[in-house]
Symmetry: C2
Subunit: 336 residues, 2 copies
């Protein structure tokens, strides 16, 4: 077994995109485990926009990552040593691994979950992980999707967005409209993922297209981006329309020029609701959702794709991809 | 009986405050009633911010007022002639009267409601009318007030705001914080209306004061004003905090520079909800709320005040008062 653990740690808080001096790779010995713990060789890291928010020294739903601390992130790996009855050598597990080669699986908050044996780890981290769970609970629980709803999702070619559109379809939405950047992504939404309509925000007038495609208004808008697209959706909200706030990626790199949606007053006229959520709150209910999504995967009705970046040392560039729109599908880093 | 009906009609759509040429007083014969109708002598008009929104040629929850049409408004009056078994001469009634001396009480949508015999008409239009009902259902139903909540209300010295603060207190809020403009209004909130704290937005740093007074965050914010005060409250929201959007008076006169609350992303981190409503949707449930509020009035635990402007022809200036903050309490126009 290797004796060195490479770790990507935070050196300087970024302003805007992650830069050369934001992180550094450091080496330390592979950690020793004590009773009740297991050692996990990390195989994949889940690259999620929220990691960028943890790099700021600002209040959030979790504390900021400290300087010289390992970058916090979800991931998956294989148990390579165990002093716990909970974990056996060879088990595949998911949880908070951090950007490093090895992590410790413990109990309580630091426990890791078994990964399904018949699905590969990359899939597990995508539609059965934070991404799929965010889509599932955001759409059904926070958004209260009803059969016949006209659903709009932004960041639709991204990992969460593409799951949202497909779940909306599977759960009876009357029309699913995706907003994405570029002709290739838009074609994929309609041709591969079963969206009814794709709007290219780089080429189309989003507000005008929404008005044409949802003349009676949007019943449920799942917002991954914030900014002017959120405003265009608010302006086109149906009576009692719901806006699910999942993220505001357009603002994560530019806190100074944060964008306020001036059309929020539509919520008054249309009796609408805008609600935020954090998927960690739903941890206790993941198994019920994972069972449903796993069944869709086995039936072949749920498409997913992973954009895999090779090498732990490239995790920072992988995170930047989310903000440049350089990915299609879930971004993962293959560590080993 | 008089034979002339004075009416205030819309002549030009205002930009900003109502101006000299926005409205005109015209005279026409007192209308004839037909079977099923009654003639009502208007006594009071209810002056509400929403009237200003109806003057714009913009989509809303009701159609815009047309040019040369009577200004739409709620009011109260006395039945002076009747061809209906529903209305007897001498009855006091409330409903949509419009800015005029006489209106017709009809059936269906144009029906008017009996006013309680033991409370005066001005009180009825205030806490038992649109104002009180907005406070009641907005706070309890949309906001889901819970015992122990820390409640903040803006426009707190206004008619709706002062009712919100008092109802929050009566229903078990742990702390009621009012935001108003000027020392006199703030003193009144604490000394007369039972608010725990008043913040003077003209003199204080609202965000800083909110942070001091609600260190654990705001559970329920009842927003009457929009603008930077909404943003300050969003920044200080408690976990699972609720924002009730009642109005955005700071923006009604300046649609071009509409203010978007950049701190809406607090709704994600704090799992918050922001929801709008229109009190007309609750019409069917007004009697249950009116019974509760009438009981509070009889017990003397619900304070209210009316700012009465004399003369139908002064209704436009009365409406402007709402936007200059020149009133304390409910603005009414005494017509006769």
């Amino acid at each position: 077994m290797e004796t060195t653990n490479r770790q990507v740690v935070l050196k300087n808080r970024p302003t805007g995109m992650i830069a050369e001096d934001t992180t550094a790779v450091v080496e330390s010995p592979v950690p020793e485990i004590t009773d009740g713990q297991a050692l996990v060789r990390v195989k994949y890291l889940s690259i999620d926009p929220t990691i960028r928010t943890w790099m700021d020294d600002a209040p959030g739903y979790l504390p900021p990552i400290g300087i010289d601390e390992v970058i916090r992130a979800g991931g998956a790996g294989e148990v390579v040593a165990s002093k716990s009855s909970r974990y056996a050598v060879g088990d595949l597990v998911t949880g908070i691994t951090g950007w490093q080669d090895y992590c410790i699986a413990d109990e309580g908050m630091a426990a890791m979950s078994p990964a399904p044996a018949d699905l590969d780890l990359a899939t597990t981290l995508n539609v059965l992980g934070v991404t799929g769970m965010t889509a599932y609970f955001g759409l059904l629980d926070v958004g209260g999707l009803r059969e016949g709803d006209v659903v709009v999702v932004s960041g639709a070619a991204g990992a969460t967005g593409s799951a949202v559109g497909q779940i909306a379809r599977l759960k009876g939405a009357s029309k699913v409209i995706g907003i994405a950047g570029g002709a290739a992504k838009c074609a994929q939404l309609v041709e591969e993922l079963g969206f009814d309509v794709a709007i290219d925000y780089k080429a189309d007038n989003v507000g005008k297209r929404l008005h044409e495609e949802a003349p009676k208004g949007i019943d449920l808008y799942f917002d991954n981006v914030g900014g002017p697209i959120l405003d265009a959706c608010l302006a086109n909200l149906a009576m009692r329309g719901r806006v699910v706030l999942c993220g505001a990626i357009s603002g994560y790199n530019d806190a100074e020029h944060a964008f306020g949606p001036k059309n929020y007053t539509s919520l008054i006229i249309r009796r609408g609701r805008m609600e935020g959520f954090i998927i960690l709150d739903y941890m206790g209910r993941w198994p019920e959702a994972q069972a449903v999504v796993a069944e869709w995967l086995r039936e072949g009705v749920m498409h997913h794709s992973e954009h895999i970046v090779e090498g732990l040392e490239h995790a920072p560039e992988a995170l930047n991809l989310l903000f440049t729109g350089g990915n299609t599908g879930k971004v993962l880093v293959k560590v080993s």
